[in-house]
């Protein structure tokens, strides 16, 4: 009797194991198919980023650097580690013309939605940490001046909150909509304020940046841009 019961249990166990093996195999196959689906855009994104396409899309790296570190000296922005949703939105805006830029508009028009999403995912996953440029004399001068004041405390006499209240402590970025500013090209940041003031860049979520840009002078923008450019870009953490 005892043996029989055990055998019965063994058979049930056998079927259970067999069912689990089958289910696992199916899941693995589905997983492989899924990985293949996602691998193709990722591979294409890496290829576009580094080499461009025969259809005329230039390599992103030509301007934005080999790992998306940007080219601060000429104002080409750092892309590495910026929020993927943010990057995808900017590419969509360049593509539609909502954000006006003579270099990016024609490039973005050649990218379809899948390419834009894949490139955004590619650059958001690039390590953003890099050495700061605190030895730069301009940067050191900016550190304790107007730039630091506005960055850390805002200019409330004009209703401007601290930059870090939305872009995070140390300009480290917050979530999907507030890109990191630390280590970003100073010239690029200045150009964005000019674009918001002139309306060639959309006002952004809740119109916050266009509004803030209208309330800061050019010299204040320069000081803030220098302040954040001098901060070392750091890798992004997680949000709760």
């Amino acid at each position: 009797m005892k043996t029989k019961r055990l055998m019965h249990t063994d058979i049930r166990l056998y079927f259970a194991v067999a069912a689990m093996v089958a289910a696992t195999a199916i899941l693995l196959m589905q997983g492989a198919a899924y990985a293949d689906e996602t691998a193709r855009p990722a591979a294409r994104a890496a290829s576009i980023a580094h080499a461009g396409t025969p259809s005329g899309i230039p390599a992103c790296a030509a301007c934005h650097g080999a790992v998306g570190e940007g080219n601060a000296a000429v104002g080409y922005p750092r892309l590495a580690g910026l929020p993927g949703d943010y990057l995808a939105q900017q590419l969509a805006n360049f593509s539609s013309g909502a954000r006006s830029n003579p270099m990016m508009n024609p490039v973005a028009k050649l990218l379809d939605a899948s390419d834009r999403a894949a490139l955004a995912a590619f650059y958001t996953s690039q390590p953003s940490s890099g050495p700061g440029r605190r030895t730069d004399q301009t940067a050191v001068a900016a550190e304790h001046g107007t730039g630091e004041q506005i960055a850390l405390h805002g200019k409330w006499s004009e209703g401007v909150p601290a930059c870090v209240s939305c872009h995070g402590s140390q300009g480290s970025g917050v979530g999907a909509d507030f890109p990191a500013l630390a280590g970003q090209s100073s010239i690029y940041i200045r150009n964005q304020f000019a674009a918001w003031k002139s309306g060639t860049r959309p006002p952004g979520p809740l119109g916050l940046m266009a509004s803030i840009a209208s309330r800061l002078s050019n010299s204040e923008v320069d000081a803030v841009a220098d302040y954040f450019a001098a901060l070392p870009a750091a890798s992004r953490g997680n949000t709760p």
């Binding site: 001046g145 107007t146 209703g159 209240s165 939305c166 979530g175 909509d177 990191a180 119109g207």
Partner: protein
């Protein structure tokens, strides 16, 4: 960063800008136009009224931009300022959440219409119906720790309270001793045309607040792991005993100050509705909890401005609240 140098730089900036900036600050704030994307994606121009102007005959006090004194008094002022900006670090034993004093008292406790500390300092001692006796300023500060910070009150005379009181006094230097000082507390907000509504508020929240505070009200951290946008409800927010748990207080604060940098862009009705939505969410238990929600409501929340104990969407608020104390829970003296 070096606070002294930073404050010095404010003074320098103001000196360069000359009296015009100060005068502009004292004058009626100029309207601020905000191009805001509507939920539908279309663009709309909204005129911000910023802070309410001071009533006729009274000038809005603006705390002087000057360096914290480089002496033993100034050291305590600076410590108060550090606590104010980062209480979880500098007043760790008394804080149960990741809110900052400066989360609500904007611009480091300087901004008019965001319960500025210079006005609060001069408003005490005062009788408070909340506890039925005359409260000193230090006792009022204790309340912030117990309720808004979901922590525990530092004992009177504790260096944390002394530092915060000293910082507030330093901000208030030069202000008239006027219990109705313009800019104190939050600007009064006219009653809404329609009764504040949870569902209308939910839509406003999604369109204007969730960007920063998150769809679940949980706030967001920055890339470096530090808190960025404060939690508005849930276990990491202020508890049921906090002033901000009053729909009226929240509506006034929101209307004057939110979204950050675009204060005054929500209509009165929108501010009331979204305040109703935010304050109709579960949050840590009132530290004065008597053992029953009904009893606690009767004793401490008998006001149409408190949603504690009310039933919203089939759920009685407070009935499953996490006990108060946040990260201090289980520690001595809570």
């Amino acid at each position: 960063m070096n606070t002294r140098i930073a404050i010095g730089s404010i003074a320098a900036v103001l000196a360069i800008a000359g009296g015009a900036v100060l005068l502009a600050g004292l004058d009626q704030p100029r309207p601020i136009t905000v191009k805001a994307a509507t939920p539908a994606g279309a663009s709309a121009s909204i005129v911000s009224t910023a802070a309410a102007p001071a009533p006729a005959g009274k000038k809005m006090f603006v705390p002087a931009n000057r360096a914290i004194p480089d002496n033993d008094f100034g050291k305590v002022v600076a410590q108060g300022q550090r606590i104010f900006n980062d209480p979880a670090r500098y007043a760790a034993g008394y804080v149960g959440n990741q809110l900052r004093c400066a989360s609500c008292h904007l611009d480091q406790g300087r901004k008019e219409g965001a319960a500025p500390m210079w006005a609060a300092y001069l408003a005490y001692p005062a009788y408070r119906s909340k506890n039925h006796h005359v409260n000193t300023f230090a006792e009022r500060l204790q309340g912030c720790f117990r309720y808004s910070m979901n922590g525990k009150a530092p004992p009177l005379g504790d260096p944390v309270l002394v530092a915060l009181e000293t910082y507030s006094y330093w901000l208030a230097q030069g202000a008239p001793l006027d219990p109705k000082l313009p800019g104190r507390g939050f600007p009064a907000l006219a009653k809404p045309a329609q009764t504040p509504d949870f569902h209308r508020g939910e839509k406003i929240y999604a369109a204007r607040c969730a960007l920063c505070h998150g769809a679940n009200g949980n706030g967001q951290n920055a890339g470096d792991g530090t808190p960025a946008f404060p939690a508005l409800w849930g276990d990491h927010s202020y508890n049921w005993g906090a002033g901000m748990a009053s729909v009226k207080n929240a509506a006034e604060f929101i209307h004057a100050n939110m979204p950050l940098g675009a204060g005054g862009t929500l209509s009165n009705q929108d501010a009331w509705d979204v305040a109703m939505f935010v304050d109709s969410q579960e949050r840590p238990q009132d530290p004065r909890y008597t053992g029953s929600v009904a009893g606690t409501r009767a004793q401490f929340h008998d006001s149409p401005q408190s949603m504690y104990g009310k039933t919203v969407e089939g759920y009685q608020l407070g009935s499953h609240a996490t006990p108060n104390g946040g990260t201090l829970r289980g520690k001595e003296g809570l």
